[in-house]
């Protein structure tokens, strides 16, 4: 029997980006808040010191900062008629764990979605007609517009000190920025980061091909910055250990650098670490959450009651916890009914590596930040006419190389043996003159009826609960999209002066062993209809009105951008609705 802790106003499940934002907002409102985090507390001086953080083996290859599959994993299959098998070690994505969540070891690429992304279904239907989309594609509108979310994009950008060049200021197109972005109310808080050689060369080649390249918006800062909470960040030093690593320099936006030092000092905030919430408890009506049950590191069960429950774990754990708590109807792809597990998506990424003459080109590719890069957006979303191409969706593409850590970045030109003397000399000759743009093509991933999440019938976790099962494949639309994008990208790398190209298209079947991104989305999506969405436009659960579900699990489908800025903006949007509407009159904010 769980021991019961004194009741709080708010319990927050997961202290990553969205949990930290919500805790900061609701403690400002005077509420008594507890955040329960599955992983350990982590902080810059104790856990990410520059004296040993630059360790590719430990943090990249062995996944030190991530969740361990023995604590929790998923099963995976491509198709409904296959048997799903457990993900025994991580591959296609890397689930975060611990205070700060993915905000600790992300690259901090700060992209806004396009205005058309939020009204995707109506936009595409209007422009191309319903029959242009595949029949089993289940894209939806979000229930909000770009104009709704813009002030909250702005807030999150300023919390993080984001470095970038505006492309559209209140409707005026700005030279040097992304001309396709939606109108922004203010410029970026700090100027764009300076760009190393290969990124600069990419921009030049793109410009000569008629594109409008711009610096990738970055949460690794170009200058010192004091954020609205009074926290001070330092300029990035381009150490090249950002993705997979914590920043030892207070230069990367994370909950640790932008929120937690203020939040933890508040008398109405408490955190509980190394404690996993296993259930959201609801009363007999099924309409009201009473709090959560969690298990501490000794296996002891505790019950934390609260008036308001904020589910702010990673996409997958949000969906899993809803399924385990029996909140919302589980999605059934055959009947096309239910909502929990619906519209599960990822990101359609690929890359092209360029091998250059080492007598002419020395890129010093180890000089980089996690979100360094020059990009183009001509082929994203619906920025171009899809009519002749027979697919929908798009991608940004760019030279976004985040460093050249040598285990992963010692590439050899196509045709080189995998070992031996010629491998060794090829590695020596190419390391400094290879362009290796991480996810150089960063494409949308739209939703389909047979890509979904449910509970596995066979495999269990350490606590005896069913693992969540992933059924996921790449569909023809995304494969076509990626082929088009990768070819366009290769033209630019070629124009930079590469002697040899290695194109890596994303192809079916979806491969769970190859890292793609950790941008998993959907499964508890927002929308306007409780029959096809789990939460309303304020991220409030349709069934249990004192439960809000934050994070990319809310995305009805994924756009061709990194998700975190939108995830953070949605958290501020939901916090605003709670502070200004819900607390005044608790109950559903939208009538079902």
């Amino acid at each position: 029997m769980a021991r019961r802790l004194p009741k709080k106003d708010v319990v927050i499940i997961g202290l990553g980006w969205t949990g930290s934002i919500m805790a900061q907002e609701l403690t400002d409102e005077g509420l008594d808040v507890i955040a329960i985090e599955r992983g350990p507390w982590r902080d810059t001086p104790t856990d990410f010191p520059p004296s040993y953080m630059q360790d590719e083996l430990r943090y990249r290859v062995r996944h030190e900062l991530f969740l361990r599959p023995d604590q929790l994993t998923f099963t995976f299959r491509n198709k409904m008629d296959q048997t799903a098998l457990p993900i025994r070690s991580w591959g296609a994505f890397m689930p975060p764990n611990g205070v700060g969540g993915g905000g600790v070891h992300w690259n901090a690429e700060m992209w806004r979605f396009l205005p058309s992304d939020f009204v995707l279904k109506s936009h595409l239907t209007e422009r191309y007609g319903k029959s242009f989309m595949p029949e089993d594609m289940t894209i939806q509108d979000w229930g909000i517009t770009f104009d709704d979310i813009e002030p909250f994009y702005d807030r999150f950008e300023h919390l993080c000190g984001t470095s970038g060049t505006a492309g559209n200021l209140k409707g005026q197109i700005q030279e040097g920025g992304n001309p396709f972005e939606g109108p922004r109310s203010r410029p970026y808080p700090t100027p764009a980061q300076p760009q190393p050689f290969s990124q600069t060369l990419f921009a030049k080649a793109a410009r000569e091909l008629g594109y409008k390249p711009f610096p990738q918006p970055s949460g690794n800062l170009s200058t010192a910055y004091t954020n609205p909470l009074g926290l001070r960040m330092g300029p990035c030093t381009y150490c090249g250990f950002c993705e997979w690593f914590g920043c030892g320099n207070y230069s990367k936006a994370s909950p640790q650098t932008t929120i937690l030092p203020v939040l933890v000092r508040k008398s109405n905030f408490t955190a509980q670490d190394n404690s996993e919430v296993v259930r959201i408890n609801v009363d007999r009506s099924g309409k009201h959450a009473t709090g959560v049950t969690f298990v501490d590191s000794s296996g002891e069960e505790w019950e934390q009651q609260a008036d308001l429950v904020i589910l702010s774990a990673y996409t997958m754990f949000n969906v899993q916890l809803l399924l385990h708590s029996k909140i919302g109807q589980p999605y059934d792809p055959i009947a096309n009914s239910g909502v929990i597990g619906r519209n599960y998506t990822h990101q359609t990424t690929s890359t092209v590596n360029g091998f250059f003459n080492n007598k002419k080109f020395n890129f010093n590719p180890f000089i980089a930040s996690g979100s360094i890069g020059m990009c183009i957006d001509e082929f994203n979303g619906d920025n171009f006419d899809h009519g002749p191409h027979g697919f929908v969706g798009g991608a940004y593409m760019g030279q976004v190389q985040t460093g050249a850590r040598p285990i992963e970045s010692t590439l050899t030109p196509p045709g080189t043996p995998k070992w031996g003397a010629s491998w060794k000399s090829a590695v020596r000759d190419n390391y400094l003159s290879t362009v290796k743009p991480g996810t150089g093509v960063h494409g949308s991933f739209y939703a389909y009826r047979d890509n979904y999440l449910d509970l596995d019938p066979e495999y269990k976790d350490r606590l005896g609960r069913p693992l969540m099962r992933i059924t996921m494949d790449l569909h023809e639309n995304e494969v076509k999209q990626n082929r088009f994008m990768t070819d366009k990208f290769a033209e630019i790398i070629k124009a930079m002066g590469a002697d040899q190209l290695a194109k890596h298209y994303r192809t079916a079947p979806y491969d769970n062993t190859e890292y793609q991104t950790t941008h998993l989305n959907g499964g508890a999506i927002m929308g306007t209809d409780p029959k096809t969405s789990a939460i309303n436009r304020y991220l409030q659960n349709w069934d249990v009105s004192n439960l809000f579900v934050l994070g990319a699990s809310a995305f009805p489908q994924n756009a061709g951008y990194n998700p975190t800025l939108t995830v953070g903006a949605l958290a501020y949007w939901a916090a605003d609705a709670i502070r200004n509407r819900y607390l005044k009159n608790p109950g559903p904010l939208v009538d079902a």
Binding site: D43, R68, Q272, K424, L432, Y510
Partner: protein, 250 residues
């Protein structure tokens, strides 16, 4: 001061959990309640202890000899740069197999174990330790039967390459083990040891980083981000400093 009451957490259990961390790594941490201030504790991030040279920790003598010979064919010595053996790659693999990686710590190893599609990932109960044990033994057995009783390490370089090319192409089968995937694994691990920080036993004196021009665990390139197409002049540093600052006894 941060409060350390409930659930079931005293200051003493936090101290105990710090000691546990050294043994169990990040997964062994204990739950705590944090309020009032940031919880700072010495060594919370668990800094590494450098690999010490000395006897094999995982391999037997025969396995160690085979592994060193394998490392030297995967990365052959040349006049500028030592090969895999002298770079410490076999020591790297040995220490990795003796540690959490070899034991599959943190991985999901619950039954049932079923064969699946390649894109569903590794599904066998056997971990890397067992794969190396079986693979190296099978390699020596196969070489002995083909080359008049000589194990892999005693073959000439060209004989070794004939064997390895055969394993890679699938023409030369190892008995009782998947030779092709074992060799792929060995290539991956040896090259990993070559390029990892020397603290792990490979990349001795940062020979691999010097070979490619990687300046190592440096922290600040602010002065260099705008200097384009210019060779970075400084030698590499590792987590324990520069090779000449920290002479290793071996």
């Amino acid at each position: 001061m941060h409060k350390t009451s409930r659930p079931g957490l005293s200051r003493r259990s936090i101290l105990l959990s710090t000691a546990t961390l050294f043994i169990a790594g990040a997964t062994g941490a204990r739950a705590r309640t944090i309020a009032g201030s940031l919880p700072w504790e010495p060594n919370a991030g668990n800094p590494l202890t450098p690999v010490k040279l000395g006897p094999w920790e995982f391999f037997t003598g025969d396995e160690g000899r085979a592994m060193e010979a394998l490392a030297d064919r995967i990365i052959p010595p040349d006049p500028q740069t030592p090969g895999g053996k002298d770079a410490g790659c076999a020591v790297f693999v040995d220490r990795q197999l003796a540690g959490p990686y070899g034991r599959q710590d943190g991985l999901y190893i619950r039954p049932p174990f079923k064969a699946g599609a390649k894109n569903q990932g590794h599904q066998m109960e056997a971990g890397p330790g067992q794969q190396y044990r079986q693979g190296l033994a099978a390699l020596d057995r196969a070489c002995k039967s083909k080359y008049a009783g000589k194990p892999f390490a005693e073959l000439s370089d060209s004989e070794k390459d004939i064997v390895l090319n055969g394993i890679e192409s699938g023409d030369f089968q190892l008995e009782g083990t998947d030779g092709k995937s074992f060799f792929e694994q060995a290539i991956r691990d040896v090259q990993m040891g070559f390029f990892a920080d020397p603290i792990y036993g490979g990349n001795r004196d940062m020979v691999a980083w010097k070979m490619i021009g990687f300046p190592g665990a440096r922290y600040n390139y602010l002065d260099w981000v705008n200097r384009h197409n210019e060779r970075f002049p400084l030698p590499p540093v590792g987590m324990t400093g520069r090779a000449e600052w920290t002479p290793q006894t071996r």
